[in-house]
């Protein structure tokens, strides 16, 4: 191989290649632009209180989107994540209301969420069913279970332990960093580490890239795929805990579009729906972009329906960019 010319550079030049290899850069730029625009056009956006609120509003979706990112990286999708989370909140709240100790209720909720993740993962992995269909079925089933279990009520939470993620925190000057924020940062950091610094992470990307190639290189494709859904289930339980920290009330009808919102954050964050490309850092940015748009457009006095329009346009733009980048790399 001494005489072949180097492969032609990616068409579109260095900028396109840099973006292709650092898919979080584009979204990060978009986030900065949005923040600057709202800072200049409104007087209320760039305040400590408002920014803190923006972050707190994005915590639950960001956590859901973290699990979603793992699944999307394998080439899958999870439509049931918010339903699993809502069932988790119901379990926490009702068990505690009925006298279970909060820690035990928390453990029970985590176990059930993990189990539901495992059910999705098992069906996808060992029955070879498409993730879209499996999680669509799970969505319907888990929603119904949540409503049955709620007995048609919402269950308020008065327990301090269950609400600690929203209530508790540290003060840095006038900025309050809630335990929920800390938890999200820690969870994203751990997941980032696992995805980029361990063999497991390489295998997740490889199987999303090309499952057959991954199998041929000796990766335990089934085991890895299953582990992703199981871990996502546990992450959804954390999302449930976060949700009770935000609003101390377990409502079976809450977060009805949570699954789509999490997919929105993942896609805007630059993770490819075709699997194998993306990062959890992009997902944080994606979740923040959605929250910033909501808040900024509200401060600017723009009808909330236009916020949805803006989010929708962003999703399509992100996917279009992903397609373009992938085509260029061929």
């Amino acid at each position: 191989m001494t005489t072949t010319k180097p492969a032609p550079p990616v068409r579109g030049g260095r900028a396109a290649e840099t973006l292709l290899h650092n898919p979080a850069l584009g979204p990060l730029g978009a986030l900065l632009v949005a923040v600057i625009v709202f800072a200049l056009t409104t007087s209320t956006f760039l305040t400590v209180d408002n920014l803190s609120l923006v972050v707190q509003q994005s915590l639950v979706i960001a956590t859901l989107a973290l699990g979603q990112t793992l699944i999307v990286l394998t080439g899958g999708i999870d439509l049931a994540n918010a339903a699993i989370m809502v069932l988790g909140t119901m379990l926490f709240a009702r068990l505690v209301t009925e006298g279970t100790t909060p820690l035990l209720a928390l453990l029970a909720g985590f176990a059930v969420c993990a189990l539901l993740g495992a059910v999705s993962g098992g069906l996808v992995t060992w029955l070879n069913l498409p993730p879209f269909i499996v999680t669509l079925g799970m969505l319907t089933v888990v929603l119904a279970i949540g409503r049955l279990y709620s007995q048609g009520n919402s269950w308020p939470v008065t327990d301090n332990f269950l609400g600690v993620l929203g209530e508790g925190g540290y003060l840095f000057g006038q900025v309050k960093v809630t335990h929920g924020m800390t938890l999200v940062i820690v969870m994203f950091a751990i997941t980032w580490y696992a995805l980029t610094k361990t063999a497991w992470g390489k295998h997740v990307y490889a199987l999303g890239n090309d499952p057959e190639a991954a199998r041929l290189t000796g990766i335990h494709v089934g085991r890895t795929r299953f582990s992703v859904y199981l871990i996502a289930g546990v992450i959804y339980a954390f999302a449930a805990w976060q949700a009770l920290g935000r609003i101390p009330n377990a409502d079976p009808n809450a977060f009805q579009t949570g699954n789509l919102d999490s997919i929105t954050a993942v896609v805007i964050g630059g993770t490819s729906l075709f699997g194998g490309r993306g990062s959890v850092i992009g997902t944080v940015v994606g979740a923040l972009i959605v929250a910033v748009l909501r808040s900024g457009l509200t401060q600017a006095g723009i009808d909330s329906l236009y916020q949805d329009v803006a989010t929708g346009v962003l999703v399509i733009a992100a996917v279009a960019f992903d397609q373009l980048a992938r085509r260029r790399s061929r």
């Binding site: 005489t3 361990t198 057959e212």
Partner: protein, 263 residues
Amino acid sequence: MTTPALQARGLVKRYGRVTAIDGADFDLYAGEVLAVVGDNGAGKSSLIKALSGALVPDAGIVLLDGKETRFHSPLEARQAGIETVHQTLALAPAMDIATNLFLGRELRRSGPAGSVFRLLDRREMRQQAQRQLDALGIETVQHIGQIVETLSGGQRQAVAVARAAMFGSRLVIMDEPTAALGVKESKLVLDLIRRIRDRGLPVVLISHDMPQVFEIADRIHVHRLGRRAAVVSPADASMSQVVSLMTGALQPGDEGAPSNLVG
């Protein structure tokens, strides 16, 4: 004669009424490139699958360095030192060269960083990968961190071959390594195959390309109707004779047939 590096006797594999391997024999010796040729449907790929663990034969034995072995999965064959370069290459396009070379066989840091925190030793893997590419004379890739999908077809093939040479301790099997390549790139892959052989690894080359087979093979295994029809030397046989053996127009032992190297 010396013990073959890999040997098979009387392999049989049936799928319902179809017999894919019908009592096939196989011999690969140390330090040679053995080409396996045969018409479509002759059962070449079934034979190769049986040798690389992707398929478990119904009958017959496989011997590795004279010792009988039985592979139940490609992983077992790999652990025994048999590496296969698949026609599809089995590379992850969005990942870099070093990551692809070590995919499924990553190296972890020593100490608690590796054992407890499962931290990969990226630097060590990159250095080893670079050494491997240098040793095989693969110099056109710009750097070891280059993403595989930015490589040309020949370069990708080279990465897949380098991986096989890196981990194959006994032999390397290559399935149509030049089928998707242009003339110039094919030549480079053939050079690579020679270099691997010269480093002491025997190579099994499945190919449709007769001129290429005659250029590189030390011996040619002709497969027909699920079994070995003949093994001939490229010095002794012509291309048309080998094609005739493949199609059955010529039988070993016929007048005008090249001498069969096996009984």
